[in-house]
């Protein structure tokens, strides 16, 4: 079958075009010879396009972790549903979400309060490290989603600001 694989933010199409020796794989429309030696465990040795690339790989749900030349690269099966559900920490829209599980230590602002960019909103603790969450833009505080002392998971919303006036 053909695979749509995401690596470093780019989508690549890959298909086996010939499974018998000498084998062939097509990556992004280009055919190239591949030799794969599956060894015990998670080892493989792939000669791709005449150059050797030894390494190890393991599947982890929708992702495949590949060790190549001292670094680990994660390839993801590109599936539109999965991409939509993928939540990571940071600012998305008007909310700040948690990059790591943690605890809400203290809340420095109240709902409706106007804040300037850089003002401290809340203080959280993740992995024993205290971090201040600062306003990423000026605006009014819409909601603090986590109570003081309560814990949160990765991807949970921490603070929302009122949408910016158009």
């Amino acid at each position: 079958m053909a695979w749509k694989l995401s690596l470093d933010g780019n989508i690549h199409e890959l298909a086996f075009t010939k499974r018998t020796y000498p084998q062939e794989v097509m990556i992004d429309g280009r055919r190239m010879p591949v030799t794969s030696y599956m060894t015990t465990g998670h080892g493989f040795l792939a000669d791709v396009d005449g150059q050797v690339g030894p390494g190890k790989a393991v599947r982890d749900g929708n992702r495949i972790h590949v060790h190549h030349a001292g670094e680990v690269w994660t390839v993801e099966i590109d599936d539109p549903l999965m991409s939509a559900a993928r939540g990571t920490g940071g600012v998305s829209g008007d909310s700040m979400t948690a990059p790591m599980p943690g605890t809400m230590l203290s809340i420095k602002v109240s709902d409706g309060q106007s804040v300037r960019e850089g003002d401290v909103l809340v203080v959280i603790e993740s992995m024993k490290l205290e971090t201040t969450v600062k306003a990423w833009r000026a605006g009014a505080v819409a909601e603090i989603h986590i109570a003081e002392g309560a814990t949160f998971d990765r991807g949970d919303a921490l603070v929302s600001l009122e949408p910016e006036a158009a």
Partner: protein
């Protein structure tokens, strides 16, 4: 054959250091017992020990901090001594005292010395009284902020009960001082149960140099040379080496002699480490004394050929320090890299997950200390250190090359680690030239980011992913078996 040093020792720890201690106990025919929280039930330490006892706690870490429960376990198993490892109860004076009160041997210094060195303010005062150089500092009290400002900027606020960088804030200008004191106090209160802080001059481009010492508890002490631990992120060590490549022979002599004089003055018993900060001009100042075995003790073992856990056991059993100072060897160079479950490309954020694949290096002049096994979960419950890779060489350059080779062979899949980043660090010209100080990683952060894959590398990675997805049958095996297909006789 002489009687063993102890019949049985209980290890009040987990992970790699528990495995490390078991190895020495086994060498000397001493029975080994470990305590474990159920999260660690399948860990290598539990499998390797002769006996194990489950302990419980409100949190997993809480179980390993429950001294009363651990002493009960030791008594139940008939262990005559407790080795605390590092972290957890290793620098807890009350625990050391309770172990002694229970009629057991605590493998470490006396409770009084632990208490003295554990109070960073008292330890600094003690060091100053005994002629050990200190950088200018101010204790908390009336007008703390004003008196701290008199030290001059930059200065650093530290927790009196602290360690490991928590409750520590560098202040570069007067305007940041009040906020930094508040944050440091709050962090210290939650980390150590005490919000007492002090202020100290911050030395720019400082190096972290520490001296391994052993004392006999009666005023006798020697050193096992120094370690350079200047490569740190978040004030926590990542790379340690012995000997220090940045000091002269005269500086080595001075810093080691100073550490020994402090150890003698404290009537220190067993293994300890005296930590110093060294300024670019070679002046050095006392930071603190760690009253336990250090994470980075293997580099000292590699350059001296000595087993530090063996020495701890011998001294705890009442034997004298095994060697005279002049007889302590120093051969070649050793470097340790700490493999952490963390993402160096995202501010060293700790990572969790299951270790789906683990290949440890079998490289030239390389030693691996780990307490993890393939299949084990890496959780946020414990410290995210997965393994220590220690490489040696006749010269520092050889050790760097050997460590780089070992890191290339280290494959950990399923949880993000700093392994690739450590390899990049080994190739960095400034690291190879030993241009070290504690700001090294900040200064060279950009050079240490991961380079994008080459086109060939990208094809290899994609092909490997596809082969993995389709399993062993994705591609036929090459050679004669592949050619004749599935038929076998």
């Amino acid at each position: 054959m002489s009687a063993p040093l102890f019949e049985k020792v209980l290890i009040a720890n987990r992970g790699e250091i528990a495995c490390r201690i078991i190895r020495t106990l086994r060498t000397f025919g001493i029975g080994s017992a470990v305590v474990f929280h159920h999260l660690d039930a399948a860990s290598p330490a539990v499998r390797q020990a002769d006996e194990s006892v489950e302990i419980t706690g409100e949190t997993p870490v809480g179980a390993y901090l429950d001294g009363a429960q651990i002493i009960e376990a030791a008594k139940a198993l008939g262990a005559g001594a407790i080795h605390p490892g590092y972290g957890f109860l290793s620098e807890n004076a009350d625990f050391a005292r309770a172990v002694a009160d229970a009629g057991l041997t605590f493998i470490g210094p006396s409770a009084d010395v632990i208490a003295l060195m554990g109070d960073k303010v008292a330890a600094r005062r003690f060091a100053a009284e005994h002629g050990v150089p200190l950088s200018p500092s101010v204790d908390e009290g009336e007008d703390f902020a004003a008196r701290a400002a008199e030290i001059g900027f930059p200065l650093v606020i530290k927790a009196a009960a602290g360690g490991g960088g928590r409750g520590m804030r560098i202040v570069r200008e007067a305007g940041e001082l009040d906020a930094a004191i508040e944050t440091a106090k709050s962090e210290a209160t939650r980390a150590f149960g005490s919000g007492v802080v002090y202020a100290e001059r911050w030395i720019d481009r400082p190096r972290h140099i520490e001296v391994q010492v052993f004392g006999d508890g009666a005023g006798g002490a020697i050193h096992l040379w120094e370690r350079e631990c200047s490569i740190q992120r978040r004030f926590q060590k990542v790379i340690e080496e012995a000997p220090s490549p940045t000091i002269t022979d005269a500086q080595r002599e001075a810093i080691c002699a100073t550490a020994v004089s402090l150890t003698k003055a404290a009537n220190y018993a067993n293994a300890g480490t005296v930590e110093f900060v060294m300024a670019p001009d070679g002046d050095f100042y006392f930071l603190e004394m760690n009253t336990r075995l250090q994470v980075e003790h293997p580099v000292t073992e590699e350059v001296t050929g000595l087993d530090l856990v063996e020495w701890q056991l011998r001294i705890a059993a009442g034997e004298p320090i095994p060697l005279a100072q002049e007889a302590v060897p120093l051969n070649g160079h050793a470097i340790e890299a700490r493999i952490y479950a963390e993402n160096p490309d995202n501010n060293f954020m700790p990572a969790t997950g299951r270790l789906l694949h683990m290949t440890l290096p079998a490289a030239w002049r390389c030693r691996v200390d780990t307490g993890f096994a393939e299949g084990q979960a890496v959780t946020a419950s414990f410290d995210p250190m997965l393994a220590k890779i220690i490489a040696s060489g006749d010269t520092r350059f050889e050790a760097v090359l050997n460590l780089e080779g070992a890191l290339n062979e280290t494959v950990l899949l399923g949880v993000t680690t700093n392994t690739g980043w450590l390899g990049r660090l080994m190739r960095h010209p400034a690291f190879r030239e030993a241009e070290l100080d504690t700001a090294f990683l900040d200064r060279h952060a950009d050079d240490l980011t991961r380079a994008p894959l080459s086109e060939h590398g990208r094809n290899v990675v994609l092909a490997a992913a596809a082969v993995t997805l389709e399993g062993r049958h994705g591609l036929a095996a090459p050679g004669p078996w592949g050619r004749i297909g599935p038929w076998r006789n």
